[in-house]
């Protein structure tokens, strides 16, 4: 599961985080081993409560490890307090210091490092350009919108040039459209800054957009690590596939398969499967019909497959009770 340890920037070995004591003791992170390579963005992806944030906080030094170890370039981090680790941490809700203005927030880490004022000011301006907020230096942090606050928070984390940037669901407090745009921005900003980062999220689209590699965490354990393409092509279990957005079902051959959201194409009553199309076709009865993002969608009762969602390429007039043909796209089906 671990990559090439010698080349790794951060190495996590058998990390375990527990909360409470005695009977109330719960294990949030269970013997996790992972490594992050220099310049790489690794996403920790998992449903809420899977322990991904606890692992991140342990890396930052904010949670003690009950077992296991953390190392930076082979050097053990056990005795190193939070403020000497040289890691950056970006919170879900920014946690900007509201008694300081935007520049005061971004400069905080530099000030702690004893960087002279002129240099600080230059770096602040540079970072504001990087996150797309030039000229925001003197703004009060309370006057910022949610997206702006997160950009400032990112700039603040990047300012001291941390060896490793830890991002704890930095976009989940924002609305969907902003989240998608900022995820793409984050991808570029982190690459341009050449930052090594550990990125915690529960959103697979976000993880795939931002990260080079993704580690899927379920119930305190890392169950799969890979590039987005690898994960999507070969999820190791039904659980992982379901979390990535696959619909798990048993097909008419008795195999357990995952269907991607676009695996089944709905053909209209008069439409025939295009000549040369790959994959098999099935006949079924429309149970419910709808419309989403410019396409007709339908729940179709397919003999041997049960009721499944199918999507047309455009607008097709179908009604419940209609007999329709569904074409299976083999690229959208994974065998589990």
């Amino acid at each position: 599961m671990t990559g090439n340890t010698s080349a790794a920037a951060l190495t996590i070995t058998g990390a375990t985080v527990t909360y409470g004591a005695g009977d109330q003791r719960t294990t949030a992170v269970d013997r996790v081993s992972l490594s992050v390579h220099p310049g790489e963005v690794l996403a920790l992806l998992g449903p809420s409560g899977c322990g991904k944030s606890s692992l991140l906080r342990a890396v930052a030094g904010l949670e003690p490890l009950a077992a296991g170890s953390l190392a930076w370039q082979g050097e053990d981090l056990a005795g190193v307090p939070v403020h000497r680790r040289g890691f950056g941490l970006m919170f879900q809700d920014g946690q900007l210091f509201d008694h300081r203005d935007v520049a005061g927030n971004i400069a905080f880490g530099l000030q702690m490092a004893g960087v002279p004022r002129a240099q600080r000011d230059r770096r602040v301006a540079e970072l504001l350009d990087l996150v797309g907020l030039p000229g925001f230096q003197r703004r009060a942090v309370r006057s910022l919108s949610g997206g702006q606050a997160q950009r400032v928070s990112l700039a603040r984390s990047l300012a001291p040039e941390p060896r490793l940037l830890l991002l704890d669901e930095p976009l989940s407090a924002l609305d969907r459209a902003l989240r998608e745009r900022l995820a793409a921005d984050l991808h570029h900003i982190l690459r341009r800054a050449g930052t090594t980062a550990l990125y915690v999220t529960h959103d697979h689209d976000e993880a795939f957009t931002v990260a080079d590699r993704v580690a899927v965490m379920i119930e305190g354990r890392v169950v799969q690590v890979g590039t987005p393409a690898q994960l999507w092509a070969r999820p190791v279990s039904a659980e992982v596939a379901a979390f990535l957005g696959y619909r798990i079902m048993t097909d008419d051959d008795g195999r357990t398969v995952g269907l991607s959201p676009r695996a089944l194409r709905l053909l209209g009553p008069d439409e025939v499967a295009p000549a040369g199309a790959r994959g098999r076709t099935l006949r079924g009865t429309v149970v419910r019909a709808g419309f989403s993002r410019g396409r007709t969608t339908a729940v179709v009762d397919l003999p041997g497959w049960g009721r499944q969602d199918a999507t047309a390429t455009g607008v097709t007039a179908v009604e419940p009770g209609d007999q329709v043909t569904v074409q299976v796209d083999p690229a959208g089906v994974v065998e589990l």
Binding site: A60, G61, L62, P64, P81, V82, H83, R84, R85, G86, F87, G88, L89, F91, Q95, F97, H99, F108, G109, M112, A113, R156, S157, P160, L166
Partner: protein, 564 residues
């Protein structure tokens, strides 16, 4: 993850206040208790049986509890509607009114006593009620003091309640009253319980106001301790009563602390996210009622206006007006007399000299109280990971609330017993008075600063640490600015408490260097219209001093903080 030098620093921060409390609170109080229980060096508990055998004791205990309960009941019943009007709704002049209702809380008890007598005595505006020197008069004065505690504590929480919860209840078919009863009131209960406990504490340990309004006739445990020690020299009885009072106070404090932790937990969840709505006194004219119907806020507003005008403003106005009446007609004669030592030389110094003494003492007391109180608040606001340290922190928290409940009279008398002979002979150095006043003020400083520090999101400190700030710099850069914000109010409270402190000061002030409250009390005890007029004028001066200090303190802070 704490390093050894951090442990040393925090232990020291805890040790300084603890040492202060041990020498200037535990030692004197214990010495006094020992005088009572073991007068000959042998433990002798017969004092309990003897004191509890007296009818007088039971009468006093009954009256103390009755005053505490009645004062609390009326403060809450009147204060909750006040909180609604002053914090949940908006109207012009609201900020001014909020500041005004706080004045009584910081007024010296002696001033309040004098003001209420001016209203209720024969010839006063409410003299016809015949309430002068009765229990209802004392209850009124207690409500006068504590109204602001309820309004501010409950209002502070109410202002932060998300109105959508109540709106959801209304949309589900609840009438406004039912929505209040089933949704809003339960949400406010921690704040109300917390306010009620602290008001009960203040009411049941009231000293100056009971002494002035009730005389020797109506005593509470607190005044009885004073009477037994100074008039009857019965230290044993005083010690027994002190223990009894400590029991009552500890119980009230336990309730207070439970309610408080729930309130802080609740406060963390909400910020000031919504706009308060304007008062709705009348519904607009409609087809069924062309001149408009009474609006939903009318009853609460009328009640609050009546309390503010009748209970709060009237005694203050009467005090000012009466201070302008001299034996020879209206004028500033009483104020001119403040430069003298009173009719028939009632005083040893002029009132102005006493005022200067008061200010000097108050500066010293404020410095001591703010330094010690801030250290306590800093230590208590930490959330250590290991269990023993957490337990130590909560013990420290509780210990520093004790002076709030132990009679100031006990403290003052204890000082006389312990600190006037070697190794600690401080009596002649004038420093005892500010120290005693600081002991009384420290709980208020802690309770003002602590909630602010506790409300800091721990992740802010973590964010700073991750950015490279050492624990010391986290303290300076994150806690520091919040601390400064609450400091203005803490200084104000400490100064105001010191200016008005009477219980302990009455014991410790040397005859040649009395403070303003001591002088006022002495003047009203002397015969002669000119002395009474001077007492009124001096009370106005003292009231103005405290109100000015509190006004400045309120300006220094940027937002509502603390518990009072």
């Amino acid at each position: 993850m704490a390093r050894w030098h951090q442990i040393v620093a925090w232990s020291l921060a805890a040790a300084v206040p603890l040492a202060f409390l041990a020498v200037f609170f535990a030692l004197p109080v214990t010495a006094l208790a020992l005088r009572g229980f073991a007068p000959e060096g042998q433990v002798d508990l017969s004092g309990f049986a003897e004191v509890f055998g007296r009818d007088r004791t039971w009468r006093i205990v009954r009256l103390t509890l009755a005053l505490g309960l009645a004062g609390t009941f009326f403060s809450v019943v009147l204060g909750v509607p006040g909180a609604y009007v002053l914090y949940r709704r908006t109207f012009r002049g609201q900020r001014l009114l909020r500041a005004f209702i706080t004045i009584p809380f910081v007024l010296p008890t002696v001033v309040v006593g004098v003001a209420f007598r001016a209203v209720l005595a024969e010839g006063g505006p409410l003299g016809f009620l015949g309430l002068d020197r009765t229990v209802p008069a004392i209850v009124l004065a207690l409500v006068f003091f504590n109204y602001a505690v309820v309004v501010r504590t409950v209002g502070g929480m109410w202002e932060r309640l998300d109105p959508r919860t109540e709106q959801a209840a209304r949309a589900l078919g609840a009438s406004p009253l039912r929505a209040f009863w089933t949704v809003t009131l339960p949400a406010l209960t921690p704040a109300i319980a917390s306010a009620a406990a602290v008001v009960f504490l203040f009411c049941s340990t009231a000293f100056g106001v009971v002494l002035v309004l009730g005389g020797i006739e109506y005593g509470t445990i607190e005044t009885e301790i004073w009477v037994q020690t100074t008039q009857f020299l019965d230290l044993r009885a005083a010690a027994v009563l002190s223990v009894l009072q400590l029991t009552v106070v500890t119980a009230a404090l336990a309730v207070f602390s439970r309610a408080r932790s729930r309130r802080e937990a609740a406060l963390r969840l909400q910020g000031l996210t919504h706009q308060a709505r304007p008062l709705r006194l009348w519904h607009g004219p409609g087809p069924r009622a062309p001149r408009g119907r009474p609006g939903p806020d009318l009853p609460a507003t009328v009640l609050t206006a009546a309390v503010i005008l009748g209970l709060l403003a009237l005694p203050l106005a009467t005090l000012v007006v009466r201070s302008l009446r001299t034996p020879t007609g209206w004028g500033l004669g009483n104020y001119a007399a403040l430069g003298t030592t009173g009719g028939r030389n009632a005083l040893t110094v002029t009132v102005w000299e006493a005022a200067a003494n008061s200010l000097r003492v108050a500066v010293d007391a404020t410095v001591i109280a703010v330094v010690v109180g801030t250290l306590v608040a800093l230590v208590v606001s930490r959330r250590p990971r290991n269990r023993p340290a957490r337990a130590a922190v909560s013990v420290l928290d509780a210990v520093f609330m004790l002076p709030l409940g132990v009679s100031a009279v006990t403290v003052g008398f204890g000082f006389l017993l312990t600190l006037n002979r070697p190794p600690l002979d401080l009596r002649s150095s004038m420093i005892l008075i500010p120290i005693a006043q600081a002991v009384v003020a420290i709980p208020m400083v802690v309770r003002t600063v602590l909630p602010v520090l506790r409300a800091i999101d721990p992740r802010l400190r973590q964010a700073a640490a991750v950015l490279g700030a050492s624990p010391g710099r986290v303290l300076a850069h994150i806690d520091g600015p919040y601390l400064v914000r609450s400091m203005g109010l803490a200084i104000g409270f400490a100064f105001a408490i010191s200016l008005g402190e009477f219980g302990a000061t009455a014991f410790l002030a040397r005859p040649d260097a009395p403070t303003l409250p001591v002088v006022i009390f002495r003047l009203i005890g002397r015969p002669g219209a000119e002395n009474y007029g001077m007492a009124l004028a001096a009370a106005v001066v003292l009231a103005l001093l405290t109100a000015t200090i509190m006004g400045l303190a309120e300006r220094l802070r940027s937002e509502r903080t603390g518990e009072f």
